[in-house]
Symmetry: C2
Subunit: 340 residues, 2 copies
């Protein structure tokens, strides 16, 4: 089979790789229906995360089950399934508490690499959620979004305790930030402030339910959020970038007693203890336990109640995966969808 492999910064190649095989009896092999490039894939692509190449890439996936190991009970060949970036048993105490991305048996799908024609999924019964039937083609981008960016934005909103009557601010206008807007709307937020200075992203944010756009960043952005909230700050702020500036912008935009939900993978972030202490905010986040939300998200997409697939604005054949990275790196695309 063929798949994407990173050799070094800005060096993504599409090449022949070994076909995946069942290794553990709890594995499944899926044939990808669609995959995509993640904002977090840009960290190694840009050389900010060191690359030990050649290494397979990709951790977002939907597909048809080809084969299952002998201990797989629920997932069947022929099903259309959605998984997320950590395989998880979904039965340990941590999974049962809703933190499947910290499952005691978790395995990182990124090291398996799903920007490929086929992929092995460990702990298939715990990891995969099947649709009620084979989905129509136009729903596939939505299910693919659920695999990571929708589930991550959703977790950001839940971690920020978004709910009815609340004012929510979203820091970051990538796919995760935009889908956090969608999640906040679905969870009943009264006012949703998207922080973005890119017109096409602002447009999608408004389509997903944003009520206000703030173009300013840093201290000025915080000032605007305060102006819009009687000087107090937002109740809930979702951080979907992962830098020092974005984290501080999120924390300082939150009122005392409010909640910051951070889902941007932290890079070089140091939180000042005294300021955090006196800010009185709640902090929660991390790698989203997408699996917690998948059954609900799959249901909402299946019933066409949400349309998260709109974040994909650059469909490409899988063999042009390198162009997907380039377009996202240069911010020509919000998110590249790859058709095998």
């Amino acid at each position: 089979m063929r798949g994407a492999v990173i050799y070094g910064a800005r060096d993504i190649r599409f090449e022949e790789r070994d076909d995946p095989k069942i290794i553990e009896p709890t594995d499944a092999i899926i044939r990808l229906s669609a995959t995509c490039v993640c904002g977090s894939d840009l960290w190694p692509y840009r050389g900010i995360e060191p690359v030990q190449g050649p290494a397979p890439m990709g951790h977002e996936y939907v597909g048809i089950v080809e084969e299952v190991g002998r201990d797989v009970r629920e997932i069947k060949p022929g099903q259309f399934v959605i998984g997320s970036f950590f395989a998880s048993d979904n039965t340990c105490e941590i999974c049962q508490a809703g933190y499947q991305s910290s499952c005691i048996h978790r395995e990182l799908m990124g090291t398996i690499g799903t920007q490929a024609e086929l992929a092995r999924v460990p702990l298939a019964d715990g990891t995969l959620v099947a649709t009620p039937d084979l989905p129509p083609a136009d729903l596939i981008p939505g299910f693919l979004a659920a695999s990571d960016v929708l589930g991550t934005g959703w977790f950001g909103a839940v971690a920020a305790e978004v709910g009815p009557g609340k004012t929510v601010a979203v820091v970051g206008d990538g796919a995760v930030g935009l889908l956090a807007v969608l999640a906040a709307r679905h969870l009943g937020a009264e006012r949703i402030i998207a922080m973005s200075r890119h017109v096409p992203r602002q447009k999608l944010a408004l389509e997903f339910g944003a009520t206000d756009i703030v173009e300013e960043r840093g201290g000025e952005g915080v000032g605007r959020i305060k102006e819009l909230t009687s000087g107090l700050g937002a109740h809930s702020v979702i951080e979907a970038v992962g830098t020092q500036e974005s984290m501080m912008q999120a924390i300082r935009s939150t009122r005392p007693g409010g909640h910051v939900g951070y889902v941007g993978v932290a890079h070089g972030v140091e939180l000042p203890g005294e300021e955090i202490f006196f800010s009185h905010v709640h902090l929660h986040g991390g790698p989203a336990p997408v699996r917690r939300f998948l059954p609900e998200l799959v249901d909402l997409i299946w019933k066409r109640e949400i349309d998260p697939g709109k974040v994909f604005d650059l469909p490409l054949p899988l063999d042009q995966v390198a162009e997907g990275y380039r377009a996202m790196d240069e911010r020509r695309a919000i998110k590249a969808l790859l058709w095998p």
Copy 2:
């Protein structure tokens, strides 16, 4: 009147100060029935916080109302009242959300200085809670504890989402940590691990409801907590010290999805963003909104359901306030109570 004044590191004097007067129509003047020395008073005492002396000291207080301003409606002269270290209006949006210590009109009692015979309490109706009647003398230490250390330990436990069925660890064996144990017991925790290497404090922790004692600190302490929790970490960890080591000990002792409630005033703390991100813990804390809990705590003490006054192990006449600081600094006393 006379009161405690700090002139510099380790230089506390008991001297004549001006009698307090009603300044704002919402003020009250109270005659202190008891006051005390706080662990946080030791930061300036030790010179870790810079001292702009001479400055009055003290922010814990119970007493009898002597006089009220013309806009005070609820609080009456002659009542026995308990307040906390921030005066607050108890009506603004932040107060109503339970964060009175971030009240938009808050005033720091520490700058007023309650280690004295008399004190002015701003925003008396919002700040003070009266007992049903004048209390018997043996309950006064308990009410005084409610003014700060009990309310702070309680907030730590609530911020750490302590509840039935949970395993709780408490980092710090000062009065706040010990009373966090009492709070955790009252809130229904199943297992309460006190981290302490001081035998008299261990004894009081066990009396307050601790089920286990861990003497190890740092990485070894974390290892012991993991051993006691099937390798996962505690559900809820209360941090009651405020140093880098204690914060990291608390965070690393918490399971993914668990909660850290931090109430030790942070000094020189920097939280590593990547580690926090992947830890999956919830972080919340800060200056305790003691006022949120006061009505309930006053009721529990009045009914003798809890006895937090046990943390005072060194009663002194107020004029010996300097000895109270010395004894706490040298860890000869958990907490000094001062009788005017």
